[in-house]
Structures are given as C-alpha cells and as structure tokens.
C-alpha cells in the first residue's frame, strides 16, 4: 500500500468513529448551552442503543433493512429522550448536583441493559445478537465518482448522512433561530434571560431533551456498524464526546472538526498493522497511546481560552444576580 492508499484508508475508517462522536457531542452542546452539564451522555447512548437493538433483534425483517434501521434510530432517539428526562427533572426541578445525577444515569443504563438483555435472550446473556443488513454497498451514480464516491458513497451506512444533516440542522437551530438564541442566553445568564420573559426551566428541559435524543441516536449509530452483537457498552464514547465538546469549544463546526480529529487518532491507534506504519519501525504500543497523548496536548493548549457557557452546571436560582 502506498501513502495515498494509506491516507485513504485512514480517512475512510475515520468516518464510523467521527459520526457518532459528532452527533453525541452536538447533543451535549445543546444541553450545556442551556446551562445543564450532561455527563450522562455515555449512559444515554447505552440506553438508546439498547432499545434500538432490541427492536432490530425482535423484528429484523418486518420492513426492508434501511427502513428497519430508520425505525430503530427513531426508537433509540425517543428512548434516549425519555431517559434524559430523569436527568432534567433532577437537575432542573430538584436542583440536584448535575454531576451526581448524570453519574446515576450512567450506572443505571449499564445495569438496565444487562437486566433487559438477560430477560429477552434465549440463553439469558447480556449480548444481543443482530443481523447487520444495513450496509449500503454502493449508492447508485454517486458511487461512481472517483475518490469521493469511494469515500462517501461506497460501503456506507445511512447514519453517515444522518450525522451530516444533524450537524447542519444543529448549527442552524443554534445560531439562526429564536429558540437557539434563547437557549444560549439561558446557558450564559439565566437571570437576564428570565428578566426578558424567557422561561428558563422550559428552555433547559428542551436542551436536556435534545441532548438525550441525540445521545440515544448516537449510541445506535456507533453500535450498528461496529459489531454483530451488542453487549451494553459504548466503550467510553460518551465521555469522549464530552472531550470533543470541550475541544470543539461548544460550537457545531468546531465540534465536527474535533470529532474528525479524534476519529483520525482512533484509527491511527489501531492501524499499526498497515505497511506504511510497520515500515516506520515504531512499536505498536506507541500508536495505541497516540489518541491519549494528542488529547492531552491539544486540551492543554486550548483549555486556556475555554468558551464554556458561563452558567453551565449551576442550578437556576432566580434570586441570584
């Protein structure tokens, strides 16, 4: 394999990592922009993916594959949203510590998946097998475009396009709509927003529910292409999405770039078997620490100009100025 092929391989395989990261980090963005820190992203991903996979498990052939996948995605989205209600209720109505509430969700989701999976699988095991019939071998016409066709329109999942649509919609909603402006105001200075008649709690509910919906969706988007059996883990991608969110400075476009960066690092970490890398003669364990090392370095340099929403993490207290 020459350098171009290697590069192509890296970019091509970066996509399954970066799309779910983008979706989930965008979810986190909506929540934090409204003023609620959502570290439950990991748990919501697990939860959403569970229900999506359960659907595929029970009714794999009711509809054509792509429709089945879409329905599963909608189910993941809704279940993620419902699950995030718990976080919203605890952190908005009860004014609970948002970190603790989020952790509770993370712990619950794993146990819940195990419990459910053991109920429904014939051997009472936690792994739920599913038939992955959702890969699109080639998109007609578009797949014939040189390079771009190979990259984006061959061996893809509709989730890739879905991720890009979500990115565009998310940045439109955040910056070009009244809702987006109000949401951002609630995350920066909720008292000021309240003084002009914005219902802070309602906006925050919206923020958390959107994050739940996107995280649930992202969970399934991550799981479907990567395995043939779902065991109730998303291997820390929810937390990685939080890092992407911070690295992306709470802005959609930067989040996308950050997700691409993290995705690329993940691929490099596992590509030490490519002849291009073996020829360099560097120990494979070095490649495996690349994602962590680069994260450390990048966050060190970017954290000084953090653009975190000012009120994120604080329960709204109307009496406070």
């Amino acid at each position: 394999m020459n350098i171009l092929d290697t590069l192509f391989f890296l970019v091509k395989n970066m996509i399954p990592y970066m799309i779910p990261l983008t979706i989930v980090a965008l979810g986190g963005m909506f929540s934090e922009r409204s003023g609620i820190v959502n570290i439950a992203l990991e748990g919501i991903m697990v939860f959403g993916a569970s229900f999506g996979i359960f659907y595929i498990y029970f009714l794999p052939n009711l509809f054509p594959p792509q429709i089945t996948l879409l329905i599963a995605l909608v189910i993941a989205l809704i279940s993620g949203m419902v699950f995030s209600l718990l976080h919203a209720y605890a952190s908005i109505n009860l004014k609970a510590n948002q970190t603790i509430s989020g952790t509770a969700l993370n712990l619950f989701a794993l146990a819940f998946h195990d419990f459910m999976a053991r109920l429904i699988t014939p051997n009472a095991v936690e792994g739920v097998r599913f038939e992955n019939a959702f890969r699109i071998v080639k998109v007609p016409l578009l797949g014939d475009i040189p390079l771009i066709g190979d990259l984006l329109f061959k061996d893809v999942y509709i989730t890739t396009y879905l991720g890009i649509v979500i990115l565009i919609v998310a940045s439109f909603v955040l910056y070009k709509t009244r809702f987006g402006l109000r949401l951002r105001a609630c995350g920066e200075h909720p008292q000021a927003a309240d003084s002009v008649g914005i219902k802070v709690n309602r906006m925050r509910y919206a923020g958390v529910l959107i994050s739940g919906a996107l995280a649930g969706l992202g969970g399934l988007v991550l799981v479907v292409p990567s395995t043939v059996e779902y065991t109730g883990t998303v291997s820390g991608y929810g937390f990685l999405a939080l890092a992407v969110l911070i690295f992306g400075q709470w802005k959609p476009t930067k989040i996308f770039l950050a997700a691409a960066f993290f995705g690329l690092m993940q691929v490099i970490a596992n590509s030490s078997g490519l002849s291009f890398f073996t020829a360099l003669g560097i120990n494979k364990y070095f490649y495996q620490i690349v994602p962590f090392l680069t994260t450390l370095i990048v966050l060190t340099f970017t954290s000084s100009k953090s653009a975190a929403p000012k009120a994120a993490g604080e329960p709204y207290d109307p009496g406070k100025r």
Binding site: M1, D5, F9, N13, P16, Y17, T121, N123, V125, E126, G127, N132, R135, D155, L222, P225, S226, T227, V228, E229, T231, S235, Q266, V267, A269, N270, S271, S272, G273, L274, S275, T278, N283, K284, Y285
Partner: protein, 356 residues
C-alpha cells in the same frame, strides 16, 4: 401532581417491603461454572464449556448456574468458587489457565466438591508447587493440532496471505497460533507456494471497535483470512470481514460459522463434549479425580467442523488424510517453542506486530 408522586412513591415502598417479607429459601445450584476473563456469551471459550454444563443439566434435570468473578485475580476466582460452593455446587467447572492457582487453594478448601479445570492443572503462581488432589480433573487440549488443521486447510484452499490475532499470549492461545503457522507451512511446502502471516496479540478478549479497524487495516493490506483466537474479540473481526466482499475469518474454540458468512472454518477444541463427559463420569461415580489429561486428535479432542462447504478445494477427504497423519504421528506439531519466531519455517514469512 406532587401529591400524586408522594402517594405513588409511598405505595412503591410499601409494596416492595411486603414483597420481601415472606422470604423464600435460597435456591441451590448443583452444577456451577465460574467464568474466566470474558463473559459467558463470548461465543467461544466460556460459552463452549458452559454449554456442556447446560446440556447435561437440562437432559438430567439438574440445577445449574454460572458465576462471574469480580476481577481477574486469584483472590476473586477463589471467592467466586466459594460463592458457587455456598450456592450448593457439587461440581464446579473452571475454564482457563488463570484458575490454576485458585484451584490449588480450592481443592483443599472444599474437599467434598469436585472441580473440572480446563486448560490447566493446579499450581501456584510461581510454578513452584504442582499438586492435584482427588477432587480435581484437569483437561488440556491440543490447540496446536487444531490450529495446525486450520492453517493447513486455509493454505491448501489457496489463501496465501494470512493473519493471526490472539487474545493474549496465554498458553492455549499461543498453542493455537504456533499450530496455525506450522499448518500453513506444511501446506505451503506441499503446494510449493509462499505464504505470509501477520501475527499479533490484541491484549483483549472482548469485542471492540479497535479490533475492527485493525482487521480492516490487515485486509486492506492484502490479508485474505484472519484466524482470530480471542474470544469475543472475534466478533469485531467478523464485523470487519462482513463489510468486505472477499475477507475471510477462521473461528476458534467452537464452530463459529453461524456468526458470519465470512467464517470459512473454526479451529475447535472439544470444550462442550469434554465438560459433558466429565459430568457423565461424575454422576456414574467415575469422576476422573487427580487425572491430568490432554485431549488431542487421538481422543477427538480437537479438530475442524464437519462442514467444508465454504472451502473451494479443501474437502472432507483432504481433511481426513491430514487428520490421520496427526493421529498416527507422521506429523508432529511443535507446541513448546518459546516464540513464534523460533519456529523453523521455509515457506512462511511471519510479520510479528508488537511482541509475544
């Protein structure tokens, strides 16, 4: 709204209290299995052993249960064995060489309980004390022969660019890998072709995106078939192979052909049968206590599945021929090479990634 919530939660508390009140007697389980690293549904090692337990128990209407140690340490293993015994276990099956020190302790702690130890015989962590009591039956498998058959079949069938992914460099996995390479060599010499093998240990027995990417990288480098002896991690490799038209996988431990169309064959070891038979012996009062046995081709302990339909040229006749050579000793597969690079090979070039 608030009142409703209060009433509901009060109800919930009352109900859950009453539900607990008439405490039933704890159920007991006569047969138990304690899992190694990896879960009961790893589609290979643990599951293979578990199915033996399950099959016997269900046929004879005996209670059975499995226990998962909290972590992969001897202390945690001993504790899990203790749980199993407290749970009423008369026979405890422990798959995995990591159990060797735990069984060394447990055989004295619970002399009335029988243990079936797979892939190991009881010894301490420093390999200084080896002692097997009458309540332990140790089973080894000749994984090197199983791996040999898989490697041989693959090369005979025309694959010349192979890969081996092992879970960790533990004895059984190492035997699989070394056997695989030797099998490829035997076939390469026979056909006079050159074969390359990428060889790596994943340090994991669980499915992971990372393994999928790794497998994709290998396939895109021209590797045609990957033998993955890594429990659940094999699922990720199969997921990778499923996205490519020609990529093939060789399964491990049990017949994994139902997991993916890409699985051409599986290097099996007779986990299910041997556990089953050990239980038959136990209930016939013929438990092979104190015995250390290696199940190889002569005892039908290892081999490939009977279905050869996913091969193009390799077939039953070829298989029987090479199998017979292993049985009568014409071919001896080395299992004690310290490193895979120490094996003397003429037609196979190994690229070792990382270390062994």
């Amino acid at each position: 709204m608030k009142k409703l919530l209060v009433i509901l939660s009060a109800l919930l508390v009352v109900l859950s209290l009453t539900a607990c009140a008439p405490k039933e007697e704890e159920p007991t389980y006569e047969l138990a299995l304690v899992t190694d690293i990896g879960t009961i549904d790893d589609k290979s090692f643990n599951q293979g052993a578990w199915e033996g337990v399950k099959q016997y128990a269900e046929e004879n209407d005996i209670t059975y249960q499995y226990y998962q140690p909290a972590e992969a340490t001897t202390a945690a293993y001993v504790e899990a064995i203790g749980q199993a015994v407290d749970g009423g276990a008369k026979v405890v099956v422990t798959p995995g060489y990591m159990f060797a020190p735990a069984i060394l302790e447990a055989q004295d702690l619970y002399p009335e309980v029988k243990f079936v130890l797979l892939d190991a015989d009881p010894h301490d962590e420093n390999y200084t004390e080896f002692r097997i009591e009458d309540n332990v039956y140790s089973i080894y498998y000749a994984e090197e022969q199983s791996g040999f058959l898989a490697g041989y079949a693959a090369v005979i069938d025309g694959y010349t660019s192979l890969g081996f992914m092992g879970g960790m460099a533990v004895p059984a996995v190492v035997r699989f890998g070394h056997g695989f390479v030797q099998g490829a060599e035997a076939a390469a010499v026979e056909l006079n072709v050159d074969v390359t093998v990428k060889y790596e240990y994943l340090n994991s027995f669980a499915p992971d995106d990372a393994h999928k990417t790794k497998a994709l990288a290998w396939y895109s480098e021209g590797v045609e078939a990957i033998f993955v002896a890594a429990g659940g991690a094999g699922l990720s490799v199969m997921a990778a192979a499923d996205t490519l038209d020609t990529a093939k996988v060789i399964g491990v431990d049990v017949d994994q052909s139902n997991l993916s169309d890409s699985v051409i064959t599986s290097a099996m070891k007779g986990l299910t049968t041997s556990v089953y038979e050990a239980l038959v012996d136990y209930y016939a009062d013929e438990f092979k206590g104190g015995v250390i046995e290696t199940l190889d081709v002569t005892k039908d302990g290892v081999g490939l599945p009977e279905d050869f339909s996913r091969f193009t040229t390799f077939n039953q006749a070829k298989y029987d021929e090479i199998y017979a050579k292993l049985v009568n000793g014409t071919i001896v597969v080395k299992k004690d090479a310290a490193k895979v690079m120490d094996l003397v090979l003429t037609k196979v070039v190994i690229t070792l990634i990382g270390s062994e």
